[in-house]
């Protein structure tokens, strides 16, 4: 944590809203990315962003500076996002999933099998596969694949060992690959 950030946090602890706005400006996109990565719904992700920053304003005085500030914040985001899913009994919008859990290409996709559409279909499949993962595996994957955190940083954020992080990433990836196994485009490239 650099001195500028420490100063900002110290001012926030005294209730300085300008300093808090600085923190918001620095982290808003990161918080949104993690929230969106978990819930995959714009409105829900924005709700989480608000909830997290209001919680942060209230609880920042409890931040002792023993860990990195971003790991403290990321943990708060992930916990809030997972709580949000549990609270709202988040339903995966799986109109495109058939009874066997297989993916049905939309009519438009069948008519236009171009590259962009293939990418979009793959992304949609991965989204569905991610939603089927346990929260810990999903969180580890978002921290690694979206935020590019190292194993050590993920371990600090999730308050677990590096070995556990590696295990969560490994099984998360494996489960997504299994889910996509029937989708030839992933295996064979484009």
């Amino acid at each position: 944590m650099n001195s500028e950030e420490m100063d900002l946090i110290s001012r926030c602890k005294q209730g300085d809203q300008d300093a808090f706005k600085e923190i918001f400006n620095q982290y808003q996109k990161k918080v949104y990315r993690i929230a969106y990565g978990v819930v995959r719904q714009r409105e829900d992700a924005l709700d989480i962003v608000q909830e997290v920053f209001i919680k942060l304003f209230r609880s920042i005085k409890n931040f002792k500076g023993k860990s990195n500030f971003y790991t403290y914040l990321y943990r708060m985001v992930m916990n809030t996002a997972i709580d949000h899913i549990r609270r709202s009994r988040y339903k995966i919008q799986t109109s495109s999933i058939d009874e066997d859990g297989g993916f049905q290409l939309s009519e438009e996709a069948v008519k236009r099998p171009d590259h962009i559409l293939i990418h979009k279909e793959l992304e949609e499949r991965v989204r569905i596969a991610m939603e089927k993962l346990p929260p810990d595996q999903r969180a580890a994957l978002i921290f690694r694949e979206v935020e590019g955190l190292s194993y050590q940083e993920i371990a600090e954020t999730m308050e677990c060992s590096v070995g556990t992080v590696m295990s969560r990433l490994h099984y998360g990836r494996k489960r997504i690959q299994e889910f996509l196994k029937n989708y030839g485009k992933l295996e064979g490239g484009e």
């Binding site: 990565g37 992304e123 991965v126 989204r127 994957l141 694949e145 490994h170 990836r173 295996e187």
Partner: protein, 170 residues
Amino acid sequence: MKDSCSSVSKLLEKYFDHEVTEKERSLVEDHILDCETCQDGLSLMGRLREAIKNPIREAEEEESFPWVWEKIERGIRLQEKPNYWESFRSWVSISPLFKKKVWVPAMAAIAILILVTAPLLFKKTTSYSSPSVVEYVESQTYNVMVYESEKGKVTVIWLFEGPEKESPPS
């Protein structure tokens, strides 16, 4: 799959995540040069990463946040207004009297007092409505007066001696 695949495949994920040592990195890179299976494994993880990351990045680019800050500011202001219970608690916490333990026996005494007096205070007092005379009978020896309350639940029969006759003034 080459013979060394099994040993290298354990490192493949770490290599993909840039978490290998220099020695491990050169080992993996030497191996994948002519191992299609491991190349495919890496390529698969790469495509997965893109498929996870891209929609999130796209959603982020479409978003503008100024109004989000306004809502957060409003939320913070709302939380800054303490409710009555919090006001009471903060008053209790700043009051020097309540910082001392003297209030514990005082509160206990008040509670006992309330418990003792409450039944007396809330006891239903029977109010008799003003009785009315129903009958009055005079005789030489006794007079009889019958009272009855308005509701007719209480009847009083009063038997008393008749007034002594006044002696004529001498």
